[in-house]
Symmetry: C2
């Protein structure tokens, strides 16, 4: 066995070929990353998805797939959609606060101009 | 063939068993929903994920998996992580605007109190 197999090939207990589609993105130092991806998508699906992408976009695709897989392992019901919901709530709260603050400014400006016109 | 097969069993060209794990969540009227899920996760992985969840949480899990799968089909590089990035940018912009507005209030209030103290 090649001790420099990538994390994917090590996980899949196979030889790591020279042109391994996983090896640039799954270094042996981070076995958990591939384990998550494999559990959620399956190695075959990830390999297929990567093959359909231009090489220069694959690293970003692996990062986003890996993020989604970790979220799904942590939260099997909502996955990273739970994060989207949280962020949307945060945006709504901030926008409400912003509207309130802008209304306060308008009131303060009206009072100020009434005062200066007296 | 049972004409009332669920969308998953229809897609997989198999009989829809009485206790089909997919049928409550994949009505025959929406074949695209299962097609996306199958393309990204594979039917076996989704079945496994659902089996590991309490029945009352499965509908929500299917919705979030389905959303993530559709996002991944639409954006194969970033998937729904692209939406998270967009929302985070929107939050930062709104928070910056809020801080600016609050600073404007502080300036207006200081001017107002200086004016009334004269």
């Amino acid at each position: 066995m090649n001790p420099k197999r990538c994390a994917a090939c090590k996980y899949l207990r196979r030889k790591c070929p020279k042109d391994c589609i996983f090896s640039p993105y799954f270094p042996p130092s981070d076995p958990h990353k591939f384990a998550c991806i494999h559990r959620i998508y399956g190695a075959g699906n990830v390999s297929k998805m990567l093959q359909q992408l231009p090489v220069q976009t694959r690293a970003e695709a692996v990062e986003s797939l890996s993020f989604e897989a970790k979220c799904r392992v942590d939260d099997p019901v909502y996955g990273c959609v739970g994060i989207i919901s949280l962020l949307q709530t945060q945006i709504q709260k901030t926008q409400t606060l912003l509207a309130k603050t802008q209304a306060e400014i308008a009131v303060a400006q009206t009072k100020h101009s009434q005062h200066t016109n007296l």
